[in-house]
Symmetry: C2
Subunit: 211 residues, 2 copies
């Protein structure tokens, strides 16, 4: 294995993850040594250095100063976190989305940002029948392929919107469908770009932005 993370390194990563899950803080070398089942903490030093070089953990000098990076979480298949980009509309596509400085967190690990995901605040009611209400936030995973039925975030020209993506073999074939009957379907044009799939909906009252 030339460029990847070895099994043993993954095991250490998992040990660190498990310890943090149970304790809320990172393990010492001694604790890692024990949970990994080796006799010398030099073994841990070696493996940890590999993980550090591989970008899976960050390490600062001092006791218990390990943090798992985004890549590290991916390596052991843990969910990532997303930055809050701005506010979109679930009604008629009217407002453009632009990046804002605001962040949302599902936890205290802002560092677990991945480029492939972002979060948006919802304004409007066109997706209210899809469980997405005004004031909610959505987590969007950028994708290149979509299947009919996906709830997507799309940009039409300069405007962003959230709709259900429908592709079927009868007219109108391919379109964006609001889940609120008071809005109409939106047919695809040259300007319609599907940016990503909505993978999570956070109801407004339950989540707070970090100042």
């Amino acid at each position: 294995m030339k460029n990847g993370v070895t099994e043993r390194q993954k095991e250490l990563l998992q040990v660190i993850y498990d310890f943090m899950t149970n304790s809320g803080f990172p393990p010492t070398f001694e604790e890692m040594r024990e949970n990994l089942g080796v006799a010398s903490n030099q073994s841990v030093t070696d493996l940890l250095e590999k993980l550090r070089k591989g970008g899976c953990v960050k390490k600062e000098p001092g006791a218990r100063s390990i943090a798992i990076t985004n890549l590290g979480y991916q390596t052991i298949g843990r969910p990532p976190l997303a930055p809050m980009l701005g506010t979109t509309t679930a009604g008629l596509p009217a407002e453009a989305i632009r990046v804002s400085g605001e962040w949302r967190t599902l936890s205290n690990e802002v560092s677990r940002l991945v480029e492939e995901m972002f979060m948006l605040k919802i304004a409007g009611d066109s997706m209210v029948n899809a469980g997405i209400d005004d004031g909610d936030a959505i987590l969007v995973q950028t994708k290149k392929e979509f299947i009919s039925g996906d709830i997507v975030y799309a940009e039409i020209g300069d405007e962003g919107t959230v709709k259900r993506f429908i592709s079927e073999d009868k007219p109108p074939y391919v379109y964006l469908k609001p889940e609120n009957p008071k809005y109409q379907n939106i047919l695809f044009t040259d300007e319609t770009i599907l940016k990503g799939k909505v993978v999570s909906v956070l109801k407004g009252s339950q989540w707070q932005a970090i100042a």
Copy 2:
């Protein structure tokens, strides 16, 4: 202030939270001392002991061995985490929900459990038009009051289900409405208990249970 957490203690709690957010691991006494703006680490020791007695932090001997408890997160207004209770059905109310040992995490902080929330896996398709599909998980906040339109988790006798709660001034007045037209509304009976409101939907592929 007899029984509560003082402002100064909250400030320390916030310092710890901020540090963990930025670093991924807890601060040392020295780092807390500095960020709190005091000259002696004894000041930190005192405040931290108060927080510990107040149940806002857990502390183990050794370096950087502090973890913020659920109560602590609440104290500074951060979102909580929920335990995974079991699997429910979004179809006909057919399967009972019972506690299982499985946990879900939005992060690595299982300790941030709050009694007032729990998480369920969805089985069935009766809420598919509400953006909740088979295999998703939902975050439920237990409540005593509901307003029409809330997506709720209800128990009917021994069975659990997820539906939209509707209360209106025309027949059938109060009922549970599946968002999938192939299922019928469920009228309230003596056995219908609304357990809580669905505050978040996690699409199945994005989140993993901890083994």
